[in-house]
């Protein structure tokens, strides 16, 4: 019994001594990341390159699809913390304002390359992404290209033209139904109807321009919900999807993998999706399947026709209680170098929101090339708000329903009624939302 006690105590001592972030030979950088659509090869390659430059550093990776949900309790308890968290879009602001995150202001001022700071290296529209209460606490992880993906092989076979305007898109849906021998214009995941946010928010931004969206994201009053672009975008959706014959049967109950399987198996010609689609469906994709991303067709009356809705929201943070905070910042700085950025795009097929040219990378698929061309040639749209009502999830794009797409598809709502419902919903609760967010007493 006593021997067991001695061995147990020694094991505890050994385990505790291993928790200080240092090995006998150097430092250990622990990275925990949401292992989602982008896989883990990109991070392994980045870590290898970082270790090559810093031979005394060992990078340990811990990936998990549920990392974003699991991170909250760990950050709030201050236990079992890595040096870096790579997480999917969630309310990180609540951790920052509670002091759970390391301020990153000094990282943003460091030079990535001669005379170019980390902040300057970032794309203009996303520079305020990690800012709250005048301090930086997070770094954007991915940039994105979202909108409408189309089956290029099918378009070639039937001689269908890629639409440049919304009117042309509407005409195309009729043409597909007439000529497509049972092929439907669209498939989409009703259980994740917010996939329609990719093109719909894009149309809204085309109509209002980037400044209009910035005004909306300030949430100064309920009147922002009266923006005409919001209604116009919903009306485009209603025209396309309110007609149920434009979608595959039973589409409103599909999860995203079911809808994507329908798309890659040729049951539908188009689907709302993003640049990650190819990596996500790689194992199921038929060999000869040829898809492309289309530049979002332009809505009538557009203020800013070339819009790419990035939907960027995934982020990187350094917990306040991390062992190797300085090393974590060095890693983030390394990730912003041109070599690391290009490697990232090679491995994931997606860009990061920094100034570099991923379109020069050779050997990417035609799908990724088409998406990167859109990223390079468009005004990239980022939804960034400093209003606590937005962090607290009181207000968003369609607050009454979350996303009115399913209701419009089923005919339970019209674009006009969904538009008005949101305004009334917010107007009735505005004082409460402001009070809840600490903006008023």
């Amino acid at each position: 019994m006593k021997k067991i006690m001695i061995v147990s105590l020694l094991m505890i001592v050994v385990m505790l001594s291993g928790c200080n972030g240092e090995t006998d030979d150097g430092k250990v950088l622990q990275i925990d990341f949401a292992e989602a659509g982008y896989g883990r090869a990109w991070l392994e390659n980045t870590a290898d390159a970082f270790m090559e430059e810093n031979p005394d550093v060992e990078v340990e990776l811990n990936g998990n699809p549920n990392m974003t949900q699991n991170a909250g309790p760990r950050i709030e308890s201050g236990r079992d913390l890595p040096d870096l968290f790579f997480l999917l879009d969630t309310n990180w602001q609540r951790w920052a304002t509670r002091g759970y995150l390391e301020p990153l202001g000094d990282l943003y001022e460091r030079e990535v390359e001669p005379d170019v700071t980390f902040l300057e290296k970032m794309n203009d529209g996303i520079q305020d992404f990690g800012l709250i209460n005048d301090e930086y606490y997070s770094v954007p992880w991915n940039d994105g290209v979202t909108g409408l993906v189309y089956n290029h092989g099918m378009f070639e076979e039937y001689g269908w033209e890629v639409p440049e305007t919304v009117d042309e898109l509407e005409a195309l849906t009729d043409q597909i139904k007439e000529e497509g021998s049972g092929i439907k214009p669209f498939t989409w995941p009703g259980q994740a109807a917010s996939y329609w946010n990719f093109p719909v928010l894009g149309w809204w931004a085309q109509y209002e321009g980037l400044e209009g969206i910035e005004t909306f994201m300030e949430f100064d009053s309920p009147e922002v919900y009266q923006q005409e672009g919001r209604l116009k975008a919903l009306q485009v959706f209603e025209t396309l999807i309110g007609d149920q014959s434009n979608s595959t049967d039973g589409v409103n109950g599909l999860v995203h993998t079911q809808a994507q399987m329908q798309f890659i198996n040729g049951f539908a010609a188009m689907m709302p999706n993003g640049i990650w689609l190819e990596t996500e469906m790689a194992s199921a994709m038929p060999d000869d399947f040829d898809m492309r991303m289309m530049q979002l067709p332009v809505i009538e009356g557009a203020e800013e026709p070339m819009i790419n809705n990035t939907m960027a929201g995934d982020f990187i943070i350094v917990p306040e209680g991390a062992n190797e905070k300085e090393l974590a910042k060095e890693f983030l700085l390394f990730m912003a170098t041109d070599e690391a950025l290009i490697q990232y795009t090679k491995d994931t097929g997606t860009p990061r929101p920094f100034n570099y040219d991923p379109t020069q990378i050779e050997g990417l698929s035609t799908f990724v090339d088409s998406a990167l061309d859109i990223w390079k040639n468009s005004e990239n749209l980022y939804f960034i708000s400093k209003n606590p009502m937005y962090f607290a999830n009181n207000v968003n794009f369609f607050p009454a329903s979350g996303a009115p797409y399913g209701d419009i598809y089923l005919g339970d709502e019209t674009a006009q009624s969904a538009f008005e419902k949101d305004y009334v919903y917010v107007q009735e609760r505005w004082d409460q939302f402001q009070r809840d967010a600490g903006l008023t007493e």
Partner: protein
């Protein structure tokens, strides 16, 4: 190393002796054995008691405290707001359609669990006990869902009803039932019946195991004497088996009532809470609030539904105990 070993060899005796000296305890063999017994009982109870205090007492007190607070993003801390959260939640309950639908969806779990799943489980368990022909097929159909991960199970169930590839579409079509508009999980009228159907299929196996265990403990003499008297299967089940396993049925009934306030995973995995919130339950909404960081409102929801739920559950338990007797054998 030698010194460490010596230290540990001597440690327990030294500690015990010191302990006895400080508290001036009786050092006789009998007194020491009694103390050792008490210490053993304390050590065995310590962990469950600690668990109870941390994960029940502390968590519940903290939930009540949170329900009177609101997180302030400017101050970076929770502020006391008295009954403001209660006012907000009650107002939302009265005015928001999605919340009303969630309450109705949750309440329907009561009859589904107690008047469909428990009777079906009892009948199935009885068939297993009577070794009816084909019982092994039933065992697989009903028990398999209990041992497979719910994620895999819901995914299989979903694919069975996939609008394009699902085999069930053709089967139900033979009975004149067509794919509903939007799909089985995409139509507000069919989504909850589908979730309840899944719950029945997946829920029978678990109850069946418990009931089967209870039936097999009934003394054989009781059953045999009834059979000598020429009792039929229906009477045997309703007049002998059910009364004799009533305590187990009561337990399942009470547990089946509590799930009204805890069921959410089925709706989440089968329908993602949709379409347009049509498959959300009370627990689903609380989970959603926690995931978006709205802990204070989630706590308020929890407290309100506990206030409603606890008397209901106690009443159900009381009624069940009055209906049947606590049989001992």
């Amino acid at each position: 190393m030698k010194n460490i070993k010596k230290f540990f060899d001597k440690l327990p005796d030294r500690i015990v002796a010191k302990f006895e000296q400080v508290f001036r305890l009786d050092t006789s063999g009998l007194a020491r054995r009694k103390r050792a017994r008490k210490f053993f009982i304390f050590a065995m109870l310590f962990i469950p008691l600690l668990h109870f205090f941390v994960f029940f007492v502390y968590v519940n007190i903290n939930t009540i405290v949170l329900s009177f607070q609101r997180y302030d993003y400017n101050a970076g801390e929770n502020m006391f707001v008295a009954f403001q959260n209660y006012k907000t939640v009650i107002n939302d309950l009265l005015t928001t359609d999605q919340l009303r639908v969630a309450i109705i969806n949750s309440l329907i779990y009561f009859p589904v669990n107690n008047f469909i799943i428990i009777p079906l489980s009892t009948v199935t368990a009885y068939f297993m006990y009577r070794k009816v022909p084909g019982r092994n097929v039933f065992r697989v159909i009903f028990f398999l869902p209990s041992i497979i991960s719910i994620v895999v199970l819901t995914m299989s169930f979903q694919f069975m009803f996939d609008p394009m590839f699902g085999p069930m579409n053709d089967i139900v079509k033979a009975f004149g039932i067509n794919l509903p508009e939007g799909g089985w999980f995409g139509n507000p009228d069919t989504v909850m019946p589908m979730v309840y159907f899944y719950s029945v299929w997946a829920g029978i196996g678990f109850n069946m195991v418990l009931l089967n265990g209870a039936i097999s403990r009934i003394p054989k003499e009781v059953i045999e004497s009834a059979r000598i008297d020429g009792i039929g299967m229906f009477k045997e089940l309703t007049q002998i088996i059910v009364p004799m396993i009533w305590p187990t049925i009561t337990t399942l009934f009470v547990v089946g009532t509590t799930v009204i306030f805890t069921m959410f995973l089925q709706s989440l995995l089968l329908a993602g809470g949709g379409p347009s919130g049509a498959s959300k339950t009370v627990a689903y909404i609380v989970v959603e609030m926690v995931q978006t960081g709205n802990l204070t409102e989630a706590a308020t929801f929890g407290v309100i539904f506990s206030i409603i739920g606890i008397p209901i559950i106690l009443l159900v338990k009381n009624l069940m105990e009055r209906i049947g007797q606590n049989v001992e054998y």
